[in-house]
């Protein structure tokens, strides 16, 4: 199967101090993944603005990058979502915010709404930079979920495009699956046996997924799988932080209702506490 999940990359741009860094990241990624780039600016079109964007894009345009700049005023969330659909954007790049004085990043309210509603993949960048910082380690989820197969495949695709040579697949196993409660020595032994069994099962499952991916994508990458018993969506972020991953790739969340937002789970945890750049595969 030919792996080419992304054809058009989109990024929302405003005139902020991060503008140049944001555009550079997006353009560089477009080049590496060999895609089109769409810049979406929420606001009226003007020659001045357009020339500014073009000036920044100059080195990439010289390299024959296909770029389109869209100007549209209105509610930022709606504009970006509708443009993404019209222009068939399949990877939307969003910037994260940093909590004052801390090395902590979170997704602002607009980006968060877009993340929840978007029908395409989302890349959340925590620290865009003009110079390329090589990406060296990707952490990807290996949840037991129909979407996982595609997500892992995308991870290998990205890893090859970005020259990453280490991928860790994290299988999060929730507490409920482990229906032995540790209370004394006997139940502890039981729990550990069950855990071992689950680990073997999970590793086998992930191995099967990897075997389905064309070998050209997997042969140059060091693959590690790490089962974790913990809260879904949260522990993988925590792990990515500890393992000092450069990119975390996750499944898109399943449909959410009111309660999910009140008691955050899965992806919502990551959005309040970005451990690293996060790619959500749709």
């Amino acid at each position: 199967m030919p792996l080419k999940p992304f054809k058009t990359i989109g990024i929302g741009v405003t005139f902020s101090p991060n503008l140049k860094a944001n555009i550079y990241e997006a353009a560089r990624l477009s080049q590496m993944l060999n895609t089109r780039l769409v810049l979406v600016h929420v606001g009226d079109k003007s020659l001045e603005k357009e020339s500014k964007f073009k000036a920044i894009l100059k080195p990439f345009l010289e390299n024959n990058l296909e770029v389109e700049i869209v100007f549209k005023s209105g509610d930022p969330v709606n504009v970006i979502l509708s443009t993404a659909e019209n222009k068939r954007i399949d990877l939307l790049i969003l910037g994260a915010l940093q909590r004052e004085n801390f090395l902590k990043y979170y997704v602002g309210s607009i980006a968060r709404q877009i993340t929840r509603k978007a029908k395409c993949s989302i890349l959340l960048l925590i620290k865009p930079s003009i110079e390329r910082i090589p990406c060296q380690h990707i952490v990807v989820n290996g949840l037991k979920d129909p979407k996982t197969k595609e997500t892992i495949a995308a991870a290998f695709y990205v890893a090859n495009a970005l020259d990453v040579n280490k991928i860790t697949i994290v299988e999060e196993v929730s507490k409920n699956e482990l229906d032995v409660k540790v209370e004394d020595d006997k139940s502890l032994r039981m729990a550990n046996i069950v855990k071992e069994r689950i680990k073997l099962r999970e590793n086998a499952r992930v191995k099967a997924i990897i075997e389905d991916i064309p070998e050209t994508y997997t042969k140059d990458v060091k693959i590690k799988s790490q089962p974790i018993f913990g809260k879904k969506g949260y522990s993988i972020g925590h792990y990515a932080q500890i393992a000092r991953a450069d990119l975390l790739i996750m499944n898109s969340p399943s449909k959410m209702n009111f309660w999910d937002r009140l008691f955050p789970h899965d992806i919502e945890h990551i959005l309040t506490e970005l451990p690293t750049d996060v790619l959500i595969i749709q």
């Binding site: 380690h137 040579n165 974790i228 913990g230 925590h238 932080q241």
Partner: protein, 731 residues
């Protein structure tokens, strides 16, 4: 032999030991039971009933191994309130209700309840209970019964009672007070006398034996009436038959009132806290290193309390003092608890009339001593040494418990602790934003099977249960590494609990290391002091962490020099390829050999600059060699490409060592020189040892393996590896 037979055999073999342990415990349980019950103004026998029912039921249904159950010290005050405000019959009803609640706690698996209270607040509450017991019983011990409304008044009036006691003129009172004082002296001196035969019988039983002997002396030898005033003798010990025949009436008519339920609540709370703390403490003493099932124990205690309430007994809790006596007398399983109950029944059947010969002051002396132990100056001094804020928490809880009551006391302790945490961190949002987050991550490292636990945000009594849950799932004979480097604040409760875990793991051949705290600041030098991550690392810190202390110990054992301070002079590292694109901030916790040839240190370095900056802390070994060798870098296959990401470097193959070539990645500018260095001996050394990243810059070697700080055990392994490597290379 079938396993079942085998088990039975082991049980039968251990039976004599357990019977003996049960006997010794019953000797201490009898006077304590009588005393605790009388201090609660319940009939003296109710304490013994609680011990008997508790011993039988918990030994059959419980989930712990060498604990002893019976009436508890902590409950004296709450029971007293219940008995005086509700009356005895309704108090039994309250006891039964609290038993039901206790069992419900067990069914809901709320054995973790006690973890939600800050340990200084619990200490404050226990000290207050101690003072209440001491304050009330002190007067009776000196034969000076008084009744006051406020518990503090009892304490204030102690000097007056002493003054009165010195000036007694009635012989009855003088003898009574003398019995009390003598008993107190026995209690105080007993632990200081190390005599095999004397120690066979516990101190409280000696007091009982002496007082009964004294009474018989006057009856049979001196032919006089007992000189101790009859007001101060134990009364109302029924015959065994009477206990069975006359079950007390239990009155539930006050079940609609507020005082009833507040009593039930207080009884449940204190009973569960006392039991859980005791079980935890006794588990540490268990010679067979078993883990208690606390929830099962709570259920059994609840059931026992219900039974005890119906039969006219007090609340049943797990008690630490009697349990420790049990362990000291080589008890091995729950049957000793059962035999302790059996012996109590035998005592009551055979000697119930003799028990009335015990003077009240003698019994109360035992309680005064217990109270003193709970609120002993050494406990208070310890709390103060941990930090000012712990002293405040302790004192607030203590005073409010004395002034208002137990529930208000412990609640105020929780609130004050939380407020202090907010003030120390100058941020409430740290807590509110993160309290619900599952901030603990644990996983088994794939390469060595160690359990690695990382904690984010903050870790205090509010969310310690999450960490505890993870730690409880680790077998105690494994290696655990707790990493606090992502955690901004760690409180005293957590530090103390981790220390308990550490003890437990070490006792059971495991290893428990806390890392990432060296950059946190604390106010006192105490290892349990709370710690906050400093916004600017590098300020001189007071108080060393346990890891630093252990490193200091390692230094002593291996004849090294230990230096904990940050060292900025790190130019010697710049020559290494690894640091080519990295900036070394400082090294700290440095262990150096006396001749300076080998050193191990924690290092903080960063990759990238400004917004892309990442700070990494790890532990490295550095050594200088006597001869020059070619520059090379060696690591496991697949690891170096990640570190350097250059295709221009080629893996240097070593002839006839395919295993080495397959597993290791070797880099060097001068391939022929590197090849000649890697002779068979060196290659074999690398093949047969764990993976480390080894780098030579010509004159020196740099060795490390993790991108995190090493635990103290790993430091030792690294040191050993370095030494052997040096030997092999220098040949």
């Amino acid at each position: 032999m079938s396993p079942k037979r085998n088990k039975l055999n082991v049980f039968l073999k251990a039976l004599p030991k357990n019977i003996f342990a049960g006997f010794v415990v019953s000797l201490i349980a009898l006077p304590l039971g009588l005393g605790l019950a009388m201090a609660s103004e319940a009939p003296p026998i109710s304490g013994v009933i609680a011990a008997v029912i508790g011993g039988i039921i918990v030994s059959i249904f419980g989930g712990s191994n060498v604990t002893i159950t019976g009436p508890g010290n902590g409950l004296v005050d709450v029971l007293l309130v219940a008995v005086t405000t509700l009356g005895l019959e309704s108090a039994y009803a309250a006891i039964i209700c609290s038993g039901i609640f206790l069992a419900v706690l067990g069914f809901l698996r709320l054995g973790k309840l006690a973890d939600f209270f800050p340990s200084s607040a619990i200490q404050g509450m226990l000290a207050a209970i101690g003072l209440i017991i001491l304050g009330k019983q002190f007067h009776i011990m000196l034969a000076h019964k008084i009744k006051r409304a406020d518990t503090i008044d009892y304490l204030i009036e102690i000097p007056y009672t002493i003054n009165d006691a010195i000036h007694y003129d009635k012989t009855g009172l003088i003898y009574a007070a003398a019995a009390g004082v003598l008993s107190l002296i026995i209690m105080v001196l007993y632990p200081k006398i190390r005599n095999k035969y004397l120690q066979l019988i516990p101190a409280p039983m000696w007091i009982v034996i002496f007082s009964i002997g004294f009474s018989y002396y006057f009856e049979f030898i001196a032919h006089q009436a007992n000189p101790i005033s009859s007001v101060y003798m134990i009364s109302g010990i029924p015959e065994f038959k009477a206990i069975i025949a006359q079950l007390p009436t239990v009155n539930f008519s006050k079940a609609g009132t507020f005082p009833f339920w507040s009593s039930v609540l207080a009884l449940t709370l204190i009973a569960s806290i006392e039991s859980l703390l005791s079980i935890k403490a006794v588990d540490k003493l268990d010679p067979e290193k078993r883990r208690s099932n606390v929830n099962l124990d709570l259920k059994a205690l609840g059931l026992a309390t219900i039974g005890s309430g119906f039969l006219g007994g007090l609340n049943v809790v797990t008690v630490i003092a009697r349990s420790s006596v049990n362990v000291n007398n080589n008890a091995t399983n729950r049957s000793s608890n059962f035999f302790h109950a059996t012996f109590l029944v035998i005592f009551i059947v055979l000697f119930s009339t003799q028990l009335t010969r015990i003077p009240l002051p003698a019994l109360m002396a035992i309680l005064v001593y217990t109270g003193y132990k709970l609120a002993s100056p050494s406990t208070i001094k310890r709390i103060f040494s941990i930090g000012k804020e712990q002293a405040i928490i302790f004192l607030v809880t203590l005073i409010i418990t004395l002034k208002i009551g137990l529930i208000s006391g412990i609640l105020s302790g929780v609130i004050v602790t939380f407020l202090i945490h907010i003030i120390i961190n100058k941020s409430a949002s740290l807590f509110f934003r993160n309290v619900l987050k599952p901030n603990v991550l644990m996983y088994q490292e794939q390469d060595n099977g160690n359990y690695y636990v990382s904690i984010k945000h903050f870790c205090s009594f509010l969310n310690f249960y999450r960490l505890k849950e993870k730690l409880d799932a680790v077998p105690e004979n494994r290696d655990v590494i707790i990493d606090f480097s992502l955690c901004e604040f760690v409180d005293h409760t957590v530090m103390e609990n981790l220390n308990n875990y550490r003890d437990l793991f070490i006792k059971r051949d495991g290893n428990f290391d806390v890392i990432g705290l060296d950059l946190h600041n604390s106010d006192s030098k105490h290892p349990f002091a709370l710690r906050r991550l400093l916004p600017v690392p590098g300020i001189i810190k007071s108080g060393r962490t346990k890891r630093q202390k252990t490193l200091e110990e390692i230094a002593k054992n291996f004849n090294l020099i230990y230096e904990s301070k940050n060292e900025k002079n790190t130019h010697f590292l710049n020559k290494f390829y690894f640091f080519r694109i990295k900036v070394v901030n400082h090294i700290y916790n440095k262990l150096t050999a006396k001749n300076g040839s080998i050193s191990i240190f924690d290092i903080e370095f960063s990759e990238g600059e400004l917004i892309a900056k990442e700070t990494i802390k790890t532990t490295m070994l550095f050594m200088t060699l006597e001869k020059t060798i070619p520059k090379f870098t060696l690591d496991r296959e697949g690891f170096l490409e990640k570190l350097y990401g250059f295709a221009s470097h080629k893996d240097i193959p070593i002839k006839e060592h395919s295993d080495f070539n397959k597993r290791f990645y070797l880099l060097g500018d001068n391939a022929t020189a590197v090849k000649s260095l890697f002779n068979t001996e060196i290659t074999h050394f690398f093949e047969s040892n764990p993976y480390y990243h080894v780098e030579s810059n010509g004159e020196c070697l740099l060795v490390f393996n993790k991108e995190r700080l090493a635990s103290t055990k790993e430091v030792k392994a690294l040191l050993d590896y370095g030494k052997r490597l040096k030997e092999v290379i220098s040949k």
